[in-house]
Symmetry: C2
Subunit: 219 residues, 2 copies
């Protein structure tokens, strides 16, 4: 199909498609003339993914490119692919707009190293095999650091029951990838569901908090 | 204490404290002279809360004011307070930077009303007592709408097991408020833990996904 048809089918404006082509987010079509190229279903699908990463979850173009490059660079071994998908997330939701790490904490705040060791202890206690490079480690140690800087006593043991629930959540996540045997299909669905469900999972927690509070504190 | 001492104890610059006073985020001190006021521990605590809302979780000043006004307006009935805390969250993490709702979805996308009814069905199935005004409802229906607009088949039954885990998460959240009997203390801790744990909970899910993928897809 021509770029105009690709635009119609994906509901992405032609100018935006050209921008994604220039930025390398979308692979080029098959050239049919000096200024024309032919696109196929893989481009429609890739555009859907780009819209999810950039448009819906607010990733930067370079963040989205990192995710997409990783996807196209891997072999068809499923764990290699999913491990990459799950390990490469640039910045978890809600962190992009956060203030830089607080450096005004009192002198009594535990050191960064201690908070990082806490995360290691949590991972060991959970018997999780996760790579050193998974950026989620740093998010957790920053959270502990922030709580400490605000004077809240909180340590990795307090996170342990949440980690156990996270394991069950992850099992559900992987279950919902069943029936998508093509590794790239699976990776695309993993990206969509991991990213797009994040706000909904936090929202479910908030509804559940209100409901739980009603049960505990009213007659 | 004077404003300079308040600044020292809270590690918030005097100019920032004055800004919060002007914006009504921080209640005024007790006037001791035309240009002087006396502050107390409640101001130190309130500044800690403001830093958590604005500085760490990136809320707008008006968003933070909404939360704080709600806190100071309520009576000491615990559910009234916590229900309010859990019901008033302005925008869950990760949504502030999101694109506006997608209006380019294909004609076959279910209507907004249908997605809202799905959320009602989910809440009914969970037997959750939650107010109509809880903004988390809309977050979930937007998530369903987005998934549908991207061609992903997904409905409220797919969210049901996540909702069951969210109930257990909320029970943990409420457990972690035990031992804070003063309702305002409890509400402050609820705000800190609900808000500040959000990135960590998403990060735990990502670590758990990597670990679960390792278990399922490697030997």
């Amino acid at each position: 199909m021509r770029i105009s048809e690709l635009s119609r089918r994906s509901a992405v404006p032609t100018a935006t498609i050209k921008f994604y082509l220039r930025e390398g987010l979308l692979p080029p079509g098959r050239a049919t003339a000096a200024t024309q190229a032919e696109y196929d279903d893989s481009h429609v699908r890739r555009l859907r993914l780009i819209r999810a990463l950039v448009g819906v979850r607010g990733l930067s173009v370079s963040g989205a490119k990192e995710v997409l490059d990783a996807l196209s660079g891997v072999e068809t071994d499923t764990h290699g692919l999913l491990g990459l998908v799950f390990g490469i997330w640039p910045t978890p939701a809600g962190r992009a707009e956060s203030a830089p790490p607080d450096t005004t904490a009192g002198a009594e705040a535990p050191s960064e190293a201690a908070d990082r060791q806490s995360v290691d202890a949590l991972i060991t206690a959970m018997e999780w095999r996760v790579t050193e490079g998974n950026p989620a480690r740093e998010v957790i140690s920053e959270t502990l650091r922030t709580l400490h800087s605000l004077g809240v006593e909180y340590d990795w043991q307090d996170l342990l029951p949440y980690a156990q629930l996270a394991s069950r959540t992850a099992a559900l996540d992987l279950d919902q990838l069943q029936g998508h045997d093509d590794p790239l299909d699976k990776a695309e669905r993993a990206i969509l569901l991991t990213f797009l469900l994040e706000p909904a999972l936090l929202a479910l927690r908030r509804l559940a908090q209100e409901a739980e509070s009603a049960v505990r504190h009213t007659n």
